[in-house]
């Protein structure tokens, strides 16, 4: 079996509206156990597991949680980042719609271990179905005292509120998200200080991805050393993959790290639709690299992805067949980022517009060699000088195609046509 359903084991099995059903499938059992035996060093289990964040950047989770746990303040906030908005990603939506109680358990557990005072779910503005299910789950969890005052007869109080975004991709970035919950346009701030010390309303704030919260109860359950045996050395555990594009079976799959990309496409995705020929695959999401067929034996692993000088991304695999040219795709990617740029810094605000103009010359076969050089240097400048992850990672697709699809560029130069 290629799939390894550990954190998604309840998805599709239970009724996401029934707390009884959730409890019957081990739901809240880890939280109960932790509250009954509060003395164990649970946070060190997370450290031993070597869990890395599942929202895109792959930052070590224990480092952040430990820093946050040490903060002493009258108010400490935990935020679940459910802003999932990068084209090709839908695995957080899947978890929220299929196992909403599981996410609540994860949040309350982390909150209890770090003594947080209040929680927020920052939910993507378009995810209305997820909102309904999460609201229902929050209500039922409150009724059964898994949330609210004196959680499961302990002296610990914690509650969670939902805040919805309003259609802005950049609000998934930590500081932009904080600004948005504070009721402002989502523009990032200069770091440090980091949110774990000065975050929402100026208080210590821990922000983690949906999938990260879903994973933590599982780690506490089996123990950190058992967890780090799953996956690879640099990337422990499993990853939810959002598989889309021209494959037969699109969807969300949970696999251990270390699986080759080709295996996901062929065995889980069932290969190409209509037996067409694969042309390229974008990894991670819109800000990830685009690679050709011959590279698909590469395994899914944080370290391997860092070779592209990019972040892992949130686990999207977008498959494209040979009816499409890289320029059709790049133009759409750049248009997305141009639209989503918050406008705070020049390289990103002006850069995407310039990228689009240059790329459109390639689309029309009117590009010159100087356009290729300009494209390359502009993409690098944006990568190096943009203020936040949006402008730093958006040129990855261009940089990777200049490397792996150089002939496609040369073909479009007009003096050769």
């Amino acid at each position: 079996m290629i799939e390894m359903k550990l954190i998604s084991k309840r998805c599709g099995i239970i009724n996401p509206q029934s707390i009884q059903d959730f409890i019957k499938h081990d739901g809240f059992s880890v939280l109960e156990r932790v509250i009954k035996n509060p003395d164990h060093q649970y946070l060190s289990e997370i450290e031993v597991s070597r869990l890395r964040g599942r929202g895109g950047a792959g930052f070590p989770v224990a480092t952040k949680i430990n820093a946050f746990a040490k903060e002493t303040c009258d108010a400490k906030y935990i935020i679940m980042n459910a802003d999932e908005g990068e084209p090709g990603n839908f695995k957080d939506k899947y978890l929220m719609e299929k196992d909403p109680f599981g996410l609540i358990e994860g949040m309350v557990l982390v909150a209890y271990l770090t003594q947080a005072t209040h929680g927020y779910i920052y939910l993507r503005g378009e995810y209305l179905q997820a909102r309904t299910l999460l609201e229902n789950a929050l209500d039922l969890a409150r009724k059964e005292h898994y949330l609210g005052k004196n959680i499961r007869q302990s002296s610990y109080d914690f509650d969670i509120e939902i805040r919805m975004g309003a259609g802005s991709y950049v609000c998934g970035e930590e500081f932009a998200l904080i600004e948005s919950i504070e009721g402002k346009p989502g523009r990032t701030r200069v770091k440090p200080p980091f949110p774990t010390s000065v975050g929402l309303f100026g208080k210590p704030t821990l922000i983690q991805n949906v999938e990260t919260f879903q994973t933590i109860p599982f780690i506490i359950d089996i123990g950190g050393s058992a967890y780090q045996k799953i996956g690879t050395k640099s990337s422990t555990g499993t990853k939810l993959i959002s598989l889309s594009g021209n494959v037969l079976h699109k969807g969300v799959y949970e696999v251990p790290f270390g699986i080759p990309i080709r295996t996901v496409i062929d065995e889980l995705g069932g290969g190409m639709e209509h037996n067409r020929k694969l042309k390229m695959v974008q990894l991670g999401g819109a800000c990830g690299p685009i690679i050709p067929d011959y590279m698909l034996d590469m395994i899914i692993d944080f370290e391997r992805f860092e070779e592209f000088d990019s972040k892992t991304g949130a686990g999207a695999i977008i498959v494209m067949d040979d009816r499409f040219s890289i320029f059709d795709i790049l133009i759409r990617i750049v248009t997305f980022f141009e639209h989503e740029s918050c406008g705070k810094c020049t390289p990103c605000r002006e850069g995407h517009q310039q990228l689009r103009i240059i790329l459109s010359r390639f689309v029309r076969k009117q590009a010159g060699i100087e356009d290729m050089i300009a494209l390359e240097s502009l993409a690098r400048v944006m990568h190096q000088t943009s203020l936040c992850g949006l402008g730093q990672s958006s040129p990855t697709a261009i940089i990777s195609t200049l490397r792996y699809f150089r002939d496609d560029y040369i073909d479009r130069l007009d003096h050769l046509g």
């Binding site: 908005g85 839908f90 309003a166 802005s168 009721g183 402002k184 989502g186 889309s244 021209n246 819109a286």
Partner: protein
């Protein structure tokens, strides 16, 4: 309408976006008017320019009126490779408008939107708060026909 909406929220700035969304949802033309922004600003005791800068930042908030049905077609890559362009051209010819325009009767506005998170059921679009996926031109025709029939 606006007072009823405001009364559901505490007078705290952190509810600004939730309030603006609730106003848009209640408005038949999916818009927040100048007068409403003023009311919101005074309710939360913040400046009106703060409210309007928030409205202009977020794409689900708008200060220009739209049609009764706002059709938003996903323009991102997973939908594009599943032939979203034929969905756009079907809609443009059915409604006799281009992307970005509203029909003369004020019934439909046609727009592009970023990924709706339904890439495994591409191509996708949203009409007001309902998402439609696995679209084909035939399916789109039936949906538009249904909405025209539903016209009061």
């Amino acid at each position: 309408m606006i007072h009823e909406v405001l009364s559901r929220f505490p007078r705290e700035e952190t509810y600004l976006i939730e309030i603006l969304r609730a106003i848009i949802d209640a408005h038949p033309s999916h818009v927040i008017t100048e007068a409403q922004m003023k009311e919101v600003a005074s309710y939360l005791n913040i400046t009106q320019s703060k409210v309007s800068s928030t409205v202009s930042f977020y794409s689900l908030l708008s200060d220009t009126p739209k049609g009764k049905y706002v059709i938003q077609v996903c323009r991102d890559v997973p939908c594009y490779v599943s032939d979203s362009t034929s969905i756009v051209s079907t809609l443009e010819s059915l409604l006799a408008i281009k992307i970005g325009q509203t029909t003369y009767d004020g019934l439909f506005t046609l727009e592009f939107v970023s990924c709706l998170g339904c890439c495994d059921h591409a191509p996708a679009m949203r009409i007001n708060s309902t998402t439609y996926s696995d679209l084909t031109p035939t399916k789109v025709k039936a949906i538009i026909h249904g909405l025209r029939e539903a016209k009061p």
